[in-house]
């Protein structure tokens, strides 16, 4: 059976209906375990003090903010190439989740920045590119809402997502060029020498898993809502025409 089967809305509704409780449960468990572990059972860092505990929200949220956009990009491509409605609707469903994740990363980062750098906000490239990502999400969502016809909206937002991705990457380099920053580099990668210590590493992994699952659960839920909205619209239209 090909994977495209799941692009059939009926099939998708069945499968996602089965999956949803499990994913939700796992997400809840992972999040609760990870956050409690991180919040209660990790020591304060010798340099950053207790603020290091923010990492368990900040980093997973940042991760999902970027992955959310990537997911939208892939879904948009699938829609443009194979015209599976579910994929367009899932892109629509993902946008608000991604935007919230971006917002969480920004807010926790800002709160963290206050004690660490002595300022809520600095025009560091990482932060700036997140702000820009936030703007891209805003524009994408606004475009979805502005267009009446669902297929046209799907087409246009897909094109915007693709063009936007190119410009988002360009902006990232532009911003890097513009200002070399304060923010720590990505030290998550395994081969880095300055790997953060295991005390923080393990709960962080759990939290990241939790955020991924949370994203998937919300995505399934919202995609189901979008599919239903689409069907509702079609039914109402039919009723009117009859």
């Amino acid at each position: 059976m090909s994977i495209w089967e799941y692009a059939n809305p009926k099939k998708f509704m069945q499968t996602s209906g089965l999956l949803l409780p499990w994913v939700t449960g796992l997400a809840a468990i992972a999040l609760v375990v990870g956050l409690i572990w991180g919040f209660f059972f990790t020591p304060a860092d010798y340099r950053q003090g207790a603020t290091v505990k923010i990492i368990f929200l900040h980093v997973p949220a940042a991760l999902m903010a970027i992955n959310g956009w990537l997911m939208m990009l892939v879904a948009s491509l699938i829609w443009l190439i194979r015209r599976h409605h579910v994929s367009a609707l899932s892109a629509k469903a993902a946008a608000p989740i991604g935007m919230t994740m971006t917002l969480i990363a920004l807010v926790t980062g800002a709160i963290w920045g206050q004690p660490m750098w002595g300022t809520w906000w600095a025009w560091d490239p990482r932060l700036t590119s997140f702000m820009i990502l936030f703007l891209f999400y805003l524009g994408y969502i606004a475009l979805w809402h502005a267009i009446e016809d669902p297929d046209t909206a799907a087409d246009l937002t897909s094109v915007l997502c693709m063009v936007g991705s190119v410009f988002a990457i360009l902006s990232r380099y532009a911003v890097l060029f513009w200002n070399q920053g304060l923010h720590q580099g990505a030290s998550l990668s395994m081969d880095k020498t300055q790997h953060i210590s295991n005390v923080f590493w393990f709960p962080l992994i759990v939290c990241m898993g939790g955020f991924v699952l949370l994203f998937v659960a919300l995505l399934l839920l919202r995609t189901r809502t979008e599919i239903r909205a689409r069907r509702l619209q079609a039914l109402l239209l039919r009723e009117r025409m009859a």
Partner: protein, 204 residues
């Protein structure tokens, strides 16, 4: 040269409006589309004019042979009548010739389009068809706002076009005074059977 539409289904606002439309136009023939308000005449013309995609079915026509005249005339308010026509003539790489005379626009030729009355604008919009040089005309209520004299004038122009081997597909509620077959599109209204359990139907 002919226009042949087979088994066409077309949609508007996400709903199939017409189904199984078949029609055929031969050189020199005109066809009047009839149907009550909301029957789907505009939708059908836009689909044949390649402004929207058909849901199913085929439209066979020689390439670059269709000229479409919509409810709106596409006039530029600040350009004069002559400049407006000349622009379209150049776009279609043709000469204007005596088109202004034929649509009785010579006295208005140097007035900006914004200072025309409703019927005068319409005459200019119809004159555009003549400079496209295309054989198949799709006309959506062409005589709206025209007075009797102008309707007759347009009738002459249309007969001339047909005599030259042109074709015309015309949606209208009023009598144009030309000899033409009539196609009532009400029978093609799409049957919206209540969808079954499946979800696929929800997605058109």
């Amino acid at each position: 040269m002919e226009l042949r539409v087979t088994d066409l289904a077309c949609a508007r606002g996400g709903m199939i409006v017409l189904q199984d439309v078949c029609l055929q136009l031969r050189a020199g023939q005109a066809l009047l589309l009839r149907g009550p308000n909301g029957a789907g005449k505009t939708t059908l013309l836009r689909t044949i004019g390649d402004l929207q995609k058909p849901i199913t079915g085929t439209i066979d026509a020689p390439e670059d042979s269709i000229a479409y005249a919509a409810h709106q005339d596409g006039l530029k308010a600040t350009l004069t009548v002559r400049e407006n026509l000349q622009f379209w003539a150049r776009i279609y790489r043709r000469h204007m010739g005596d088109v202004l005379q034929r649509m009785n626009l010579q006295v208005l030729a140097d007035r900006p389009a914004q200072s025309l009355s409703a019927g005068q604008k319409r005459r200019l919009g119809l004159a555009r068809l003549l400079v496209t040089g295309r054989p198949i005309w799709l006309l959506d209520e062409p005589t709206v706002s025209l007075d009797a004299a102008s309707v007759a004038l347009f009738g002459d122009v249309l007969r001339g076009h047909l005599a030259d081997g042109g074709m015309a597909l015309i949606a209208t509620h009023i009598d144009l005074g030309i000899k033409a077959d009539v196609l009532d599109i009400s029978p093609f209204r799409a049957q919206h059977s209540v969808p079954q359990a499946g979800f696929e139907e929800a997605f058109l």
